[in-house]
């Protein structure tokens, strides 16, 4: 006879306790506190609280005596930047205590700045202003007001497989015009029939478009009076047509960034170069460690050498937060001082926004040496080991051309509409006129005047 299983009281209590523990553990995963010193502040980041660990380590290395004076609470409202913006909006709506500092991509800065949510940090920036690079300044400022500390710079960078380029007779520094790039792509395909000079699929991510559009610093989607420029400014058509032509000519491998085929595309040698941003420095050593020394770095071709990939992440300070002074002291020391900037680049690869830190790291990168406390595994993942001496030179040179697209307060909504209307054109499923007119009509109808906030 089979024993009948029943739920005992003890079993029920155990299950309840397990569920309770799980419920309590969930917020703990989202939050991490470093209770150390007398200067508390709360910071919000995306991608998990441990994303801030690297910065805490950098700070401790740069300022070992001061690290213990801070009491940092790290919260992560979500995996992506959009979830941080959303959490900040909800905090503002509910009237709860605001975080002292929030990491956000620059794209959301106009929305919060226009609505008066961000603290004017202009007075505090005075002592650092002379040392700021133009790139650092462009990430710190909105409408001539200092609103945030630049945490990194997404510089337009061209990564390429030097041996494959040599075999195809392509010199990246000689590729200047869009026609040159197309010719280089075709030459590359002739020399390497199983490989491509770039990848571009049917559903590009918005940064593919904005990297190109940010080449012009006076280009805007909308004006302050609420009128849109998409159909009237020919530069939108120029960029979209260029990407359409790359996709349709066959020089691009038809897969998109971050798709399941992207990393294998690099590993298998099917992607021979990538017009992308400086954050890719850290990904190639992880994607294909065996190709160490084969990949080199150049600036984007002249036809689109200016701009950036969304500017970069910024630490912004909401008005009315209780510990702005402490948060500012930590962030400014880490990202605006020479010591902090150099150490954070050495440990995490972030590109600082100060001239003094940049010149020091350029010197360090010209003769890369392994830090004494680094394991083999860590060392092999560093850009210095992977690309070799001088790898920062083209990136620092490209920083001269760094500029941020003129985003407006409705930028998060505009990204979705742009992808929706332009992706079908790039993949050959609609016309340029349909893309431009549809994009403008959708923005007019669904967003209206982005500055009417």
């Amino acid at each position: 006879m089979r024993t009948k299983s029943t739920l005992t009281r003890r079993g029920l209590l155990r299950t309840g306790a397990a569920l309770g523990a799980a419920t309590l553990a969930t917020p703990a995963l989202m939050r991490r506190s470093y209770a150390q010193g007398a200067k508390p502040f709360e910071v919000w980041v995306w991608g998990g609280p441990d994303r801030f660990d690297g910065r805490l380590n950098s700070f401790a290395q740069a300022y070992p005596e001061e690290a213990g004076t801070f009491d940092v609470t790290v919260r992560s409202p979500g995996a992506h930047g959009a979830e941080v913006w959303q959490a900040l909006r909800l905090a503002l709506a509910s009237g709860q205590t605001l975080p002292d500092v929030v990491m956000s991509n620059y794209i959301a800065v106009p929305e919060f700045a226009e609505l008066g949510v961000l603290t004017d940090m202009s007075d505090r920036f005075a002592e650092f202003e002379d040392d700021l690079t133009p790139a650092g300044r462009s990430l710190s400022v909105y409408n001539d007001m200092f609103v945030g500390v630049p945490a990194n710079h997404n510089i337009k960078t061209w990564f390429y497989n030097a041996a494959k380029f040599d075999a195809a007779g392509i010199d990246p520094t000689a590729v200047r015009t869009a026609a040159d790039f197309m010719a280089a792509g075709q030459a590359y395909r002739s020399a390497h029939p199983d490989s491509y000079i770039m990848n571009l699929g049917d559903t590009p991510i918005h940064y593919n478009y904005f990297m190109m559009l940010s080449h012009w610093n006076d280009l805007t989607l909308a004006n302050r009076d609420g009128s849109y420029n998409i159909t009237s400014d020919p530069r939108f058509a120029e960029v979209f047509q260029l990407m359409h032509d790359w996709r349709q000519s066959g020089i691009a491998m038809p897969i998109d960034d971050w798709s399941p085929d992207w990393q294998p595309g690099f590993q298998e040698g099917r992607i021979g170069s990538s017009l992308i941003a400086s954050w890719m420095l850290g990904f190639l050593p992880r994607f294909m460690p065996e190709q160490r020394g084969e990949w080199e770095i150049a600036a984007w071709p002249d036809f689109s050498h200016r701009g950036s990939e969304g500017g970069g992440p910024v630490f912004m300070f909401p008005n009315g937060a209780p510990n702005t002074d402490n948060a500012w002291e930590f962030m400014s020391k880490l990202h605006l001082s020479t010591e902090g900037g150099v150490i954070d680049w050495q440990t995490r690869g972030t590109i600082p926004g100060t001239t003094s830190a940049l010149s020091q790291l350029q010197e360090l990168a010209s003769n890369v040496t392994r830090p004494a406390d680094m394991t083999d595994e860590q060392w092999q993942l560093t850009p210095g080991y992977y690309y070799g001496d001088g790898f920062m030179d083209p990136i620092i040179a490209a920083m001269e051309d760094f500029q941020v697209f003129q985003y407006d307060p409705a930028a998060p909504a505009q990204l979705d509409i742009m992808r929706r209307r332009v992706n079908p054109y790039v993949s050959g499923n609609s016309t340029l006129e349909e893309a431009l007119e549809g994009m403008q009509a959708d923005m007019e109808r669904q967003i209206g005047n982005p500055y009417a906030v």
Binding site: A79, Q86, I255, W258, S259, D416, R445, Q446, V453
Partner: protein, 314 residues
Amino acid sequence: MTQATDIPKPALRAAAAETPAAPRGAWMRKVTPYLFIAPFVISFLLIFVGPALYALGLSFTNYRGFGSFRWVGFYNYVTMLQYDAFWITLRNTAFYWVAHAAPMMGIALGLALLVRSRLARYRRFFKTTIFLPQMIASVTAALVFQNFFGTTSGVLNGFLGMEIPWLTDPDLAPWAVVLILIWRGTGYWFVIFLAGLTSIDLEIEEAAKMDGANGWQRLWRITLPLMKPILLFAFVVDMVVTWRLFAEPNVLLGRAGTLAPIEQAPVLNLVVENIRAGQFGQAAATGWLLFIIIAVLTFVMFKLIGSKTRGSER
């Protein structure tokens, strides 16, 4: 009154002695059920009805979640109804519902019949195995399938020796989503159907067998008619869940924090996109439109259930 004479006198005295307390006992009896349901009712009002009414109010404003706002009347509803993306996502959601529901229910019922039949051995193993996909989080399942369907490096294309763009071809990508929905949902409905089949009295089937009915006849004329209420319940619940579909298409077809392309997106994407963009008014209006659609479809399905069930009972 004649019965009172049968009651022993001590009992009558005891009843008389308790009479003053009777009103309190009656009051407690009336209140107790409400006390039991009070936690649910209070939490339902606070967590569901309250926010829903707040969202209804928001849907008539251009509120961003903070700062000032303006009443805009039905503007958010009108613009959403004029937005072709709304109709495209409605069509997509309807497709996901129709395309996955019938095969999934068919497979689940078929497996339940097989496991219940005398042919099946290792029933406990099959019950666990078939239910297993339901235990995997939808996001995790979609990530696994993303690698399964990869164009150049996917498992499926590797097996086929081809490069079919399962996830990027606008005609193929929705079918990949349908496959995940079937794969995940089958185990859940399998368990429900198995429970329903267990409740069918075996004597009815035995009697039919004695009368000479073969297996197909017993399935068609006894099992399925008796399972009809459960099947219709399953279709209604699955319909409601599918109209709120979000994770599977977006994890499978979106990338790096972006959502699935509108051409394959479910209607809930428009709510999420508007929330992400700080357009709370528009998000609320879209949410209420979705609620109306689900309510209408549910009403129609319940009407259908009512008539069919009554029909089968007659």
